[in-house]
Symmetry: C2
Subunit: 490 residues, 2 copies
């Protein structure tokens, strides 16, 4: 993998000046054309110590228009970062459509270093690379021109470069003890990097390995790779996307939803008693979240008028108001539309100790977006896997994920709609869209069945709630949350 | 101030039930009407320990639609917060237009506690209250329905309440040692709170002091105050705002801008030498920011084609790419439009150790927004004071603020425009709007002169840059930054 980056290629000063001048014009032009599209540029710069990741970033920022281009070094930690899933920092620094970012090291640094230092075994290393590959696959499918540069130095060249930097007073500060530590373990790092690159270099997101000893060669190679990515991004933005087609699947005769016992109900007295009991459990258990360094996410889906709002209110009032938040998922803002669809959920993830309740969720992708044709078939089909990966990251980071599907019959929905129309202070709850969606009842049921089947995982199981009786539904939701917390917090 | 909140008023259960039912309907209705407007609801809940701030928040969340209402407790710290100016956390948790938030304690907690514990003197305390008042004045002028509730307990009642909470196993956890410490200093706290309320209760943002001993009385009083605020917000949203009128001031014959010596220039050789020297200084000094727990903001203003981009590039390339960011200020996103105009700048403030360069700035309010009539006369007139307060907060928190006005002549601008039209890779830089703005040259010059005069402060001075010669301008910018840093970092 690295052999062809050890050929000692160089560029002389004159050739460099000429090629640089042309490259700058081309880069600027392509960047400004890209700014008008929905495609973002992501330049991932990895490589060995002394390879010059920061220098390359500076060169690119200088050649391009810095106003549309952030550099993300991910060097600092913060408790905001530490109390979130690992990829939160990558998600929250993702540039908007038309803009770009240069990421130094990013999601490769930690797995490579931990593997080379033998802090991680083979299994963990492979899983980290799989996660990186899945993330990059999602990015490229979500309008990202991704270019991955690897700055390579041979063992001899690395030593030479580090010594060179150390001898110059202007650059000596850049060489740390850690750099030399890593340089001493060159062979081990080389093997690990080689495997990382082999495994994560996919057709959609290949690596460009660059011989980094000659700075001119390195810079031009980096710039030209970025230019190629910009052009590919532009071509992609120009390619007229196939029109999205609404999908109206038919629900199976028998399914997890038809099997629910819709007669389940509670009388007033039982309800009051059980609600009190479960609310007390949730209150006590959620108070323990902070100490245990855990967080809670409760996600609610269901047809209109299924009783999500009422269930959420009972759940919310059991939790310390200072630590709970309800996210009502409505139409995305323009900033949200300028990012991959999961971004709006990532940006609002709870810190440890907190609870976030989602009133409608990321499953909109495989429900409303699928049925109404707001995204392509390819988009919602890949969403099952992306969502499962997302939820896996949540649980791995210590977040307890509870997902509820509230089910009512079509007749019950009609009754509730009519009731809303009649009750003055409920009228705001009912819109034309609710009536239109009702007309697509079967399609929504079918989409829900497929969603439940494809995304129930041990860490993030769906709880199907018989919601014909609101009291039963509310108690079941609270009890499920309490049981899950009890199990998870021990 | 507190006497009328110690009358021991109560509400019996039956009256409460009836009034609560009516209140809920009214609150929900008003909240949903507000959601369609540009007005946000802010409920600040302050008061003594044991007064029930969290209980009141929970009650309000329960009565209202929790999906449009966050509770912000500001209990946790984080290094993200600690490395930003004090009000950053309030700015970044400000709800969008049409939404609401309940803030517990918020900006009053710290000044009151510090003053009561004698950690702060009188002067600091007064300054903190002035800042709070200025912030609230800005909020109410920026479409905020602000309601400030103060939950009061007499000395005797507070002891009674704390003991009551401690004796019930379900609430004992809510009483901390700190609560008792504060209760023992009741008289001192009372005096400080009384002064805080007297000073910060303005016509636009008065306090509602509530006798908090009877929970039913307290909750109803809180709910009714919120309802009144919602209704006032709605009335305000309905009041047809006066149409904004473009303002086209005439520039004075002699001004800080006409006095600039536009003949200042550097030859190629001097330029290269001086640029190198100043870049090296900036490189060295910005590296020290982190260790010294400081940050840097460089703000650039000037007419189109004044050379902001080129100066920014030279400055940027002197700073470690990992620690610098350029914010190009273009049209606000819809999320930004849903917040007060300074919000978009607050959200991108650098952490300690970092540099943010603004290509156009918050001064847009008194330049383009004034001249083009994008805001009302009252809006841009109050902006001078708001901006100075903003910059004062920046410097107080350790951020070095450098502001540059790049000045060229009208003839020079025309020459540069024509050059841009002719040069293929510069064409993207010139738009119809640039030509239109050029037609309002005098008005922009006059607005700039007024801005410079009104917002040059010792902590955030304007540097006027003779930019007729680009080389001179770039070196002057770099030298100014280096000099300021040297002075500030010692």
């Amino acid at each position: 993998m690295f052999e062809s980056a050890e050929l000692g290629r160089t560029v002389d000063k004159k050739t460099y000046a000429a090629r640089e001048a042309r490259l700058r014009v081309d880069l600027l032009k392509a960047q400004h054309e890209l700014a008008a599209t929905k495609v973002r540029l992501l330049v991932l710069v990895g490589g060995v110590e002394g390879g010059g990741k920061t220098e390359v970033a500076r060169r690119l920022v200088d050649w391009l228009d810095a106003r549309g281009l952030n550099v993300e070094a991910y060097g600092d930690r913060s408790d905001e970062i530490d109390e979130r899933p690992e990829y939160w920092r990558y998600w929250t620094t993702l540039p908007a459509a038309g803009r770009g970012a240069i990421l130094l090291g990013a999601w490769y640094t930690k797995p490579i270093v931990r593997r080379a230092l033998k802090e991680d075994g083979e299994g963990r290393f492979e899983r980290a690379l799989d996660r990186a590959a899945a993330f990059e696959a999602m990015l490229t499918r979500e309008d990202t021109a991704l270019v991955k540069l690897w700055l390579h130095l041979s063992k001899k060249d690395q030593r030479r470069r580090l010594r060179e930097l150390e001898e110059d007073p202007a650059t000596a500060w850049r060489v740390s003890k850690r750099d030399w530590d890593f340089a001493r373990k060159y062979d081990r790092f080389r093997g690990v990097c080689e495997r990382a690159l082999a495994r994560s270099g996919t057709v959609d997101a290949p690596w460009t390995v660059i011989d980094a000893m000659d700075r001119r060669w390195r810079n031009l190679a980096a710039g030209e790779a970025v230019l190629a990515a910009l052009k590919a991004g532009l071509a992609r933005a120009r390619a007229s996307a196939a029109a999205n087609v609404p999908d109206r699947p038919k629900p199976p005769k028998v399914s997890v939803l038809t099997r629910l016992d819709m007669a389940k109900a509670l009388d007033e007295h039982d309800y009051a008693r059980k609600l009190d009991k479960q609310q007390a459990r949730v209150a006590e258990l959620t108070r323990r979240l902070r100490k245990d360094r855990r967080a809670l996410i409760c996600a609610f889906e269901g047809v209109d008028a299924a009783g999500k709002g009422g269930a959420i209110r009972r759940l919310l009032s059991a939790i310390d108001a200072r630590n709970a938040r309800v996210m009502a998922v409505a139409a995305p803002t323009d900033e949200e539309r300028a990012h991959p669809y999961l971004w709006r959920f990532w940006r609002h993830l709870p810190r440890l100790g907190r609870t976030t309740i989602y009133d409608r969720t990321w499953y909109g992708r495989v429900l409303v977006e699928r049925v109404e044709g707001f995204c392509s078939q390819a988009d919602w089909k890949r969403a099952y896997g992306e969502i499962s990966a997302f939820e896996e990251e949540l649980s791995e980071s210590g977040i307890v994920v509870c997902k509820f599907w509230l089910q009512i019959s079509s007749e019950e929905q009609l009754k509730r709609f009519q009731d809303r129309v009649k009750t003055p202070f409920k009228q705001y709850k009912i819109t034309d869209e609710d009536w239109r969606n009702r007309g697509k009842w079967d399609a929504y049921q079918a989409a829900a069945v497929e969603m439940i089947e494809k995304t129930s995982t041990p860490d993030a199981p769906w709880t199907l709630v018989e919601a014909q009786d609101k009291k039963w539904a509310r108690v079941k939701v609270l009890k499920t949350v309490a049981d899950r917390l009890e199990e998870e917090l021990g």
